[in-house]
C-alpha cells in the first residue's frame, strides 16, 4: 500500500531523499514528495528542515500542489518567520488572480500564517478582498479579519477593518453576512466593553432577513448573535420571536437549539398573560423532543440543555415524561441524563409511571446508573408526598435483592425520607438493621448510624448496634466517625442509664486518640455540654431539624439564568459559566436574562464590585439583588443621569428599580425595604440596612414611619384587555390616609383623555375620596402616576376574598373593569394599640371558637425584629413573654371599621416557623390578617 508507506516514513536519512525529490524537475515527483512531507507532519514528525525546499514549490499553477504547500506553511511558518516572508510575494500575487477560488485561497491561507511580519503585507490584499466583487472572496475575507485580529488586534482597528466588517452585515449575499456576524461576535467577545456589535432594530432586521437564506451554519452564527440582543420592549421581542420560530423545524439540531436559546431569552420579556406567550411555550416542546431522536452525542448535549430548560420553565415539557424513559441500548451518558430529567419532571400526575420505570432501572447492569436510579426513587418520595409510601415500599423491595450497592444506596435515601416525613415510616427500621453487616461504604454506614441514633428510643438493641461500629472506630472515615459520635451522644441523652460507658468510650476515642481536629472539637463540645448542662445538651443535640428541601441539586438561580443565555454551548453542557473553563478575557462577561437583569451591563459596575463578596455568598438570593443594591448606593451618591426605558417585567424587583429611576424618593423607600428577600442570611442584613438607613435619613422629611412595607406595584389591568391602557398599582397608607397609587400607561396609538374611576361596593367601604387626578391627556407610549386618596365610608358589601376590590376606569375610549386585592394592613388604624388589661380581658372575652391558628414558614427574623417590622404596619406589640426559649408576642390591631384583632405570635429561636393565633369577634378577617403577617414578615 503506497499510503501506508507514506505514513511509515521515518528517520533523518529520508529527509535528504525528500529534499532531492522536492527539487526534482518532474512535477509528479515534486507533488508526491510534498505529500510525503505532509504525511510526516501529520504523524508529528519534524520536517521543518525542508522549509525552503517546500516553499520553492509554491510558485506553481498546479492548484493541488499549491494547497499542499500552503498546508505546510501554516504549520511551520511560525517556527521559521524569516523564511515565511519568502512566501509573501506569491500570496500577494494570488490575491489578484482572476480566479476567485485562488484569490480566496490566498487570503484564507495568509490569515493562517501567524507571523507578525506577514500581517503588514496582508493588509492591502485583505482590504481589496473585503470589497471583492465575488461573494466567495468576501465571505473568506470576513473570517480573515477575525484571524488578523487574533494576531494583532491593534492593527485591525488602525486599518479600519472593523468598520468594513460592520458594512458587510448589509451585504447582499447571506453567507457573507453570516461570516461577518461570526467574525464580529468573536472580536466583540474579547472587547467586552466595546460597542462593536451595536445591535439596533435596523441591523436586527437585516440579520433576520439573512437568516432565511443562508446555510445552516450561517443560521447558527446569526441566531447566536441575536441571542445577545436585548429588545426594547415586549412588542419587539414578540416580533423577533415570531420570525425565529420557523427555525425550530430545521434538520440541524444546532439551528434548533440556538433558536430555542433566542426564544427562551426573549420570552422573559413577554407578559405572561399574553396569548402569544402560551403559544410560544407550546411550540417549544415538540422540537426539544425531536432532538432526542438524533445521534447519541447530540442527544447528550440536548439533554444537558433540557435539564436547564426544565429548571427554568418546567411547564414546557411537563407532559412529555415518557420520551425521557431510558432505552436499553442508550449509551450510559444518555441514560444518566435522562434519569435526571425524569426526576425533575416527576409530579403527582405521573409518579406511578415514573416509579415503575425507576424500579426497572434499578435492576440494570451499570453500577452508576443503578445507584442513580435508587437515589431517584428517594428523590421522588421527597418531591411528591403522595408517592412516599410507594417509594418506601419499592426501596424495601430493592433492599431484599441484597445487591450490595443497591442496599447501600437505598439506605442513604431512606435517611432523607425519614427527615422529610418524621414519624411515618419508622416501621421499616427493623428491615434496615438486618443489612447492617453488608454496608461497606462510608456514606451508607453514616446514614445507617444516623438512623440508629435518631431513633434510638425505638430500637431495642441500639446500644449494641452502635457498639459494634465502635470497635473499628479508627479505621472508619471521618464522615462515619462524626456520625457515630453524634449518634452515641443522642442515644445517651435518650437512654442515659444503660449507655454511660458507651458514651465515655466514644468521647475518649474522639478527643484523645484522634488526630482529626473536627472530630476532636465536636467531641469536646459534647463532653462539656454533657458535663455542665445536660438539659442544654438535650436542647442542642436533639433540637428539631430544619426541613430538607424538595428539590435537590437545583442549579443556583443566577447561574441558571446565565446558563440559559448559553444554551447549546459548552457552558450548558458543563453546567458551568464560561469563565470556569475558558482562559483569558473571553467568556468573562456574564450574560443575564433580560427580564431580571435590569439595564444589562450594569452588572459590571464598580459598586457591585466592592460588594462582590456579599452578593455572592448567599445561595438562595434573588439574582439581581446585587444590582439593586448597587443602584441604591449609586443613587445615594449621584443621581442617575441616563435612564433608558427599562423593560417591563412583572417581578417586584424590577418594579422597584423602575420606581427608583422614575418615581420620587418616597416610593424608593417603600420598595427599597421590600427588596431584600426573606432568604437573606443575617450577616447580609447588616450592610444592607446600613445602606438603607442612610437613604431613610435622606428622605426623613417625608415623615414616614420606619419600616412600612408597601407591596410593589403589580399590573392590574393589562393593556391587552383595555384597548391599550395599562394600569399597575399598589396601595399605601401614609399618615392615616389610604392611597391607591397607580401608573397609567398608554400603549395604544391614540391619545387618551377624560379619566374617571369608580369602585364597586366592598367589604370595608373603600371609596375614592376625590376624583382621579389625571389632568393632561395621555399620549401614546406615555405613563402617568396618579395617587387616589381613599375613604372608608362608602357602601359596604362582603366580598370574596374579603380584601377584593372591583374597580371601573373610564376614559375617552371605553369603560374597563378590573379587580385587585389590597393588603388588609391598609385598614389598620394608627390608634390600634390596646391597653394591656383591656387586651387580657378581651382575649378571654372572645370565645375560643373564634380563635384561628396559622403557621408562618421560613421566617428568619428574631422576635424583636419581627415586632419592629409589624409596627410599621400598625400592628402593635403590647407585651412580650419568654417561656422555655420561646418568645410570645401579644399584639393588637384595629381595623378602620372598629373591629379589633388580637394576636399571639410565638417565635422560637432557631426555628424559622412561627405560630400565630388570632382572635377576633369577626373571625372572617383572620385569614386576611394572617396573609398580611406573612407578607410583612417575609419582605
Amino acid at each position: 500500500m503506497m499510503c501506508d508507506f507514506l505514513f511509515s516514513l521515518v528517520c533523518t536519512g529520508e529527509i535528504f531523499e525528500l529534499k532531492a525529490e522536492l527539487n526534482s524537475d518532474k512535477k509528479e515527483k515534486k507533488k508526491e514528495a510534498v505529500k510525503k512531507v505532509i504525511a510526516s507532519m501529520t504523524v508529528g514528525k519534524d520536517v521543518s528542515a525542508l522549509f525552503p525546499d517546500v516553499v520553492n514549490c509554491m510558485q506553481t499553477d498546479n492548484l493541488e500542489l499549491k494547497k499542499l504547500v500552503y498546508l505546510y506553511l501554516m504549520n511551520y511558518a511560525k517556527s521559521q518567520p524569516d523564511m515565511a516572508i519568502m512566501a509573501v510575494n506569491t500570496f500577494v500575487k494570488d490575491c489578484e488572480d482572476p480566479n476567485p477560488l485562488i484569490r480566496a485561497l490566498a487570503v484564507r491561507t495568509m490569515g493562517c500564517i501567524r507571523v507578525d511580519k506577514i500581517t503588514e503585507y496582508l493588509c492591502e490584499p485583505l482590504r481589496k478582498c473585503l470589497k471583492d466583487e465575488d461573494p466567495y472572496v468576501r465571505k473568506t475575507a470576513a473570517v480573515c479579519v477575525a484571524k488578523l485580529h487574533d494576531i494583532n488586534a491593534q492593527l485591525v482597528e488602525d486599518q479600519g477593518f472593523l468598520d468594513t466588517l460592520k458594512d458587510l452585515i448589509s451585504d447582499s449575499n447571506p453567507m457573507v453576512v453570516a461570516n461577518a456576524v461570526a467574525a464580529l461576535s468573536e472580536i466583540a467577545e474579547s472587547h467586552p466593553n466595546s460597542n462593536l456589535l451595536d445591535l439596533n432594530p435596523q441591523t436586527i432586521n437585516k440579520l433576520l432577513t439573512a437568516l432565511n437564506e443562508c446555510t445552516e451554519w450561517g443560521q447558527i452564527f446569526i441566531l447566536d448573535c441575536l441571542a445577545n440582543y436585548t429588545p426594547r420592549d415586549d412588542r419587539e421581542s414578540q416580533s423577533i420571536c415570531e420570525r425565529v420560530t420557523p427555525r425550530l423545524s430545521h434538520a440541524n439540531s444546532a439551528v434548533v437549539l440556538s433558536a430555542v436559546k433566542v426564544l427562551m431569552k426573549f420570552m422573559e420579556m413577554l407578559p405572561k398573560d399574553l396569548d402569544y406567550y402560551g403559544t410560544l411555550l407550546k411550540k417549544l416542546a415538540p422540537p426539544l423532543v425531536t432532538l432526542l431522536s438524533a445521534e447519541p452525542e447530540l442527544q447528550y448535549v440536548a439533554l444537558r440543555n433540557i435539564n436547564l430548560i426544565v429548571q427554568r420553565r418546567p411547564e414546557i415539557l411537563k407532559h412529555e415524561m415518557k420520551v425521557f424513559f431510558v432505552k436499553y441500548n442508550d449509551p450510559i451518558y444518555v441514560k444518566l441524563e435522562k434519569l435526571d430529567i425524569m426526576i425533575r419532571l416527576a409530579s403527582q400526575a405521573n409518579i406511578a409511571q415514573v416509579l415503575a420505570e425507576l424500579k426497572e432501572y434499578a435492576t440494570e447492569v451499570d453500577v452508576d446508573f443503578v445507584r442513580k436510579a435508587v437515589r431517584a426513587i428517594g428523590r421522588c418520595a421527597i418531591k411528591v408526598e403522595q408517592s412516599a409510601e410507594r417509594c418506601v415500599s419499592t426501596l424495601l423491595d430493592l433492599i431484599q435483592t441484597k445487591v450490595n450497592y443497591v442496599v447501600q444506596e437505598a439506605i442513604v435515601v431512606i435517611k432523607d425520607i425519614f427527615r422529610k416525613y418524621p414519624n411515618k415510616y419508622e416501621s421499616v427500621i427493623a428491615t434496615l438493621c438486618e443489612n447492617l453487616d453488608s454496608l461497606d461504604e462510608p456514606e451508607a454506614r453514616a446514614a445507617m448510624i444516623w438512623i440508629v441514633g435518631e431513633y434510638a428510643e425505638r430500637i431495642d438493641n441500639a446500644d449494641e448496634l452502635l457498639e459494634s461500629f465502635l470497635e473499628g472506630f479508627h479505621d472508619e472515615s471521618t464522615q462515619v466517625q462524626l456520625q457515630l459520635l453524634t449518634a452515641i451522644v443522642k442515644l445517651f441523652l435518650k437512654k442515659p442509664t444503660e449507655t454511660q460507658e458507651l458514651v465515655q468510650q466514644v468521647l475518649s476515642l474522639a478527643t484523645q486518640d484522634s488526630d482529626n481536629p473536627d472530630l476532636r472539637d465536636r467531641g469536646y463540645i459534647y463532653w462539656r455540654l454533657l458535663s455542665t448542662d445536660p438539659v442544654a445538651a438535650k436542647e442542642v443535640v436533639l433540637a428539631e431539624k430544619p426541613l430538607i428541601s424538595e428539590e435537590t441539586d437545583l442549579i443556583e438561580p443566577t447561574l441558571l439564568e446565565e446558563l440559559i443565555c448559553h444554551i447549546g454551548t459548552l457552558a450548558s453542557v458543563y453546567h458551568k459559566p464560561p469563565s470556569a473553563f475558558v482562559e483569558g478575557s473571553r467568556g468573562v462577561q456574564h450574560k443575564r436574562l433580560p427580564g431580571s437583569a435590569g439595564s444589562g451591563e450594569s452588572v459590571e459596575s464598580p459598586d457591585t464590585g466592592s460588594a462582590a463578596g456579599v452578593s455572592e455568598a448567599p445561595p438562595a438570593v434573588i439574582p439581581s439583588q446585587g444590582d439593586l443594591l448597587g443602584d441604591l448606593l449609586n443613587l445615594d451618591l449621584t443621581p442617575p443621569t441616563t435612564t433608558g426605558p427599562p423593560p417591563p417585567a412583572s417581578s417586584g424587583m424590577q418594579m422597584g428599580a423602575m420606581d427608583l429611576l422614575g418615581g420620587g424618593l418616597d416610593s424608593l423607600m417603600g420598595t427599597g425595604f421590600g427588596a431584600p428577600p426573606a432568604a437573606m442570611p443575617a450577616s447580609f442584613n447588616v450592610p444592607v440596612s446600613g445602606g438603607l438607613d442612610d437613604l431613610f435619613d435622606l428622605g426623613g422629611g417625608v415623615g414616614m414611619p420606619m419600616g412600612v412595607f408597601n407591596p410593589p406595584k403589580t399590573v392590574w389591568l393589562p393593556a391587552m384587555k383595555a384597548k391599550g391602557l395599562e394600569i399597575s398599582g399598589t396601595f399605601v397608607r401614609r399618615a392615616g390616609v389610604i392611597q391607591m397609587e397607580m401608573t397609567l400607561t398608554n400603549k395604544a396609538m391614540s391619545v387618551m383623555t377624560d379619566f374617571a374611576i369608580q369602585f364597586n361596593r366592598n367589604s370595608f367601604g373603600l371609596a375614592p375620596a376625590g376624583p382621579l387626578q389625571v389632568l393632561t391627556p395621555l399620549s401614546p407610549n406615555q405613563s402617568i402616576e396618579a395617587a387616589l386618596p381613599l375613604s372608608t365610608v362608602g357602601p359596604v358589601m362582603k366580598m370574596e376574598p374579603l380584601n377584593n376590590l372591583q374597580v371601573a376606569v373610564k376614559n375617552n375610549i371605553d369603560v374597563f373593569y378590573f379587580s385587585c386585592q389590597y393588603p388588609i394592613s391598609m385598614l389598620f388604624a394608627e390608634d390600634g394599640k390596646m391597653e394591656r388589661q383591656v387586651f387580657l380581658a378581651t382575649w378571654k372575652d372572645i370565645p375560643n371558637d373564634n380563635e384561628s391558628q396559622f403557621q408562618i414558614k421560613d421566617c428568619h427574623l428574631n422576635s424583636d425584629a419581627a415586632s419592629n417590622k409589624l409596627q410599621g404596619s400598625n400592628i402593635f406589640t403590647i407585651a412580650k413573654r419568654t417561656v422555655e426559649g420561646q418568645d410570645m408576642l401579644y399584639q393588637s390591631m384595629k381595623l378602620t371599621n372598629g373591629i379589633w384583632v388580637l394576636a399571639e405570635l410565638r417565635v422560637q429561636a432557631g426555628n424559622p416557623n412561627y405560630t400565630i393565633s388570632l382572635k377576633c369577634r369577626a373571625p372572617e378577617v383572620s385569614q386576611c390578617v394572617f396573609q398580611n403577617y406573612e407578607m410583612v414578615l417575609k419582605n
Binding site: 500500500m1 505532509i38 501529520t42 508529528g44 493541488e64 499542499l68 500552503y70 498546508l71 480566479n99 477560488l101 484564507r108 490569515g111 493562517c112 501567524r114 465575488d134 461573494p135 466567495y136 473568506t140 473570517v143 480573515c144 487574533d150 447571506p174 453567507m175 461570516n179 468573536e186 432565511n212 446555510t215 451554519w217 420557523p246 423545524s249 434538520a251 439540531s253 444546532a254 440556538s258 422540537p287 425531536t290 431522536s293 445521534e295 452525542e297 447530540l298 448535549v301 440536548a302 420520551v323 424513559f325 432505552k327 436499553y328 441500548n329 409511571q353 435492576t363 441484597k402 445487591v403 447549546g568 454551548t569 459548552l570 457552558a571 450548558s572 453542557v573 464560561p578 473553563f581 475558558v582
Partner: protein, 436 residues
C-alpha cells in the same frame, strides 16, 4: 470556535491533524489519545475536558474524530459538524476506515480547508463541494470564467444545494416513506411508550430549477381544508389524517412558509437527499404484538414461551422477522420448538434468535424454549433484558399517506404530468421491545 480537528485510528495513532487556532498545541493530540482512546473504562461522555481543553468526539467504525477547543463554542454545532464531516467523507470515498482515510489524506485536508475556516463551518453540501473539489485533483483550474463564478455563487448562494443547468431526458422522482416504529411494552401488554420516527427520502432526477410542493395527510392541513372546502370532503379525508408531533426539514424547504401555511415547498437538490423527518405518537399501527411468558422452574431451569401476533391487513406480508430473546449468563443448554421459521441459541450473544422470513397479516406464531441453567452462587438476580424484535412491513405504521408531489419548472417545457413519480412505503422496527 473549533480550534483543531484530529482523526485517529483505533490504536490512537493520528491520521489527520488540522489545527486552526493558536491555543491548541501539539500536546492536545496526545492528551486525547491518553485520556480517552487509551482510557480503560467505557466512555462516560462524548465531551471531555482535559487540562482546560474541551474535546468532542464521535466514532465511526473504529475511527475516532475529535474536535478540540478552548473556548465556549456551540457544542451542538460542533457535533453536527462532525457528523457532516463524516457524511462528506463518505460521499467522497465511501466507508470511513483507516485505509480509506490514509489513501485520501490529501483530499481530507483539502476538504477541511474548505468547510472549516478558522474553526467556522462553511458550506458543507457535497453537491456544491464536488463541483470544485474532486478526488482526482482540482477541477477548477480548467473552468472557464463563467463556470468559476457559477461555482462561487453556488457555494455562497441562496440555493447552495443545487447547480443551474441540470438536464435529464427523463424527468423522474423516487419518493420513499421510511418509518421506524418504536415500542416499549410491559409484560402485561400495556404500551409504555410508542412512537414512529419517519423520514421522507427522495431521489430526484429533474431538469432545470424545479419548484416542488409536497403534500401528505397532515391533520392540520386536512382540517383546515375541511373547513374551507366542502364538508363532505373534509369528513371523508379527516378519518385518514394523522397528527404529526413535530417535523424537521432539509435546508431546501422554506421554513417560514411551512410555519405560516404549513405547506412544504422547495427546490430539490439533485440526486439523493432526505426531505424531512417527522415523529408521530398517536394512533400508531403496531405491526406485531409480542406476548412473553417466562417461568422459573427451580434454580436451574427457565421455561420461556413467546407468541407473536401480526396485526395488519392479511393481504400484506411482513419480512425479515427476527425475535431476540435474551438468556441468562449462566445458561448451559437450550431446547427450542418453534412453529415457523428457524430458531437458534447463540451463546456468544446470550440470546435465542428466532427468524421468520415472511408472515402475513392477522396470523400468529409461537416459540417455546427450555433453558437449563448452571447453578451459581451469584446473589445478583438476572436483569431480564427486554425481548426485542425486528421486521419490515410494506406500509407506514404512522398512517402517513403522500397526497401529492407537484413539480413546476417555469423555464423548461415539461409539466407536472411529464414527471414519472414513484412512491414506496416501508415500515421497519426501530427499538421494538417487550419487557418480560
Amino acid at each position: 470556535m473549533i480550534g483543531g480537528l484530529f482523526i485517529y485510528n483505533h490504536k490512537g495513532e493520528v491520521l489527520i491533524s488540522r489545527v486552526y487556532r493558536d491555543d491548541i498545541g501539539r500536546n492536545a493530540v496526545d492528551a486525547f489519545r491518553v485520556n480517552v482512546i487509551h482510557a480503560r473504562q467505557q466512555v462516560r461522555s462524548p465531551v471531555s475536558n482535559i487540562a482546560r481543553t474541551s474535546f468532542f468526539h464521535v466514532k465511526r467504525s473504529n475511527i475516532w474524530l475529535a474536535a478540540v477547543t478552548k473556548q465556549n463554542v456551540n457544542a451542538t454545532m460542533v457535533f453536527e459538524f462532525l457528523y457532516k464531516m463524516c457524511d462528506v467523507m463518505a460521499a467522497y470515498f465511501g466507508k470511513i476506515s483507516e485505509e480509506n482515510v490514509k489513501n485520501n489524506f490529501v483530499l481530507i485536508y483539502e476538504l477541511l480547508d474548505e468547510i472549516l475556516d478558522f474553526g467556522y463551518p462553511q458550506n458543507s453540501e457535497t453537491g456544491a463541494l464536488k463541483t470544485f473539489i474532486t478526488q482526482q485533483g482540482i477541477k477548477s483550474q480548467h473552468h472557464s470564467k463563467e463556470e468559476q463564478s457559477q461555482i462561487t455563487s453556488q457555494v455562497t448562494g441562496q440555493i447552495g444545494w443545487r447547480r443551474e443547468g441540470i438536464k435529464y431526458r427523463r424527468n423522474e422522482l423516487f419518493l420513499d416513506v421510511l418509518e421506524s416504529v418504536n415500542l416499549l411494552m410491559s409484560p402485561q401488554g400495556q404500551v409504555l411508550s410508542a412512537h414512529v420516527s419517519g423520514r421522507v427520502v427522495m431521489k430526484s432526477y429533474l431538469s432545470g430549477m424545479p419548484e416542488c410542493k409536497f403534500g401528505m395527510n397532515d391533520k392540520i392541513v386536512i382540517d383546515k381544508q375541511g373547513k374551507t372546502g366542502s364538508t363532505e370532503d373534509g369528513a371523508k379525508s379527516g378519518k385518514q389524517s394523522i397528527a404529526i408531533d413535530d417535523c424537521t426539514f432539509h435546508q431546501c424547504v422554506r421554513l417560514s412558509k411551512f410555519d405560516s401555511e404549513r405547506s412544504i415547498s422547495f427546490i430539490p437538490p439533485d440526486g439523493d437527499y432526505e426531505l424531512m423527518r417527522y415523529r408521530t405518537t398517536k394512533d400508531i399501527i403496531l405491526p406485531f404484538r409480542v406476548i412473553p411468558l417466562v417461568r422459573e422452574v427451580g434454580r436451574t431451569k427457565l421455561e420461556v414461551k413467546v407468541v407473536i401476533k401480526s396485526n395488519f391487513k392479511s393481504s400484506l406480508l411482513a419480512q425479515k422477522i427476527e425475535v431476540r430473546i435474551p438468556t441468562p449468563l449462566n445458561t448451559s443448554g437450550v431446547q427450542l420448538i418453534c412453529m415457523k421459521g428457524k430458531a437458534k441459541y447463540k451463546a456468544s450473544e446470550n440470546a435465542i434468535v428466532w427468524k421468520v422470513k415472511r408472515m402475513a397479516g392477522m396470523k400468529e406464531s409461537q416459540i417455546s424454549a427450555e433453558i437449563e441453567l448452571l447453578p451459581t452462587n451469584d446473589k445478583k438476580k438476572w436483569a431480564r433484558p427486554p425481548i426485542s424484535m425486528n421486521f419490515e412491513v410494506p406500509f407506514a405504521p404512522s398512517g402517513l399517506k403522500v397526497r401529492y408531489l407537484k413539480v413546476f419548472e417555469p423555464k423548461l417545457n415539461y409539466s407536472d404530468h411529464d414527471v414519472i413519480k414513484w412512491v414506496r412505503y416501508i415500515g421497519r422496527s426501530g427499538i421494538y421491545e417487550t419487557r418480560c
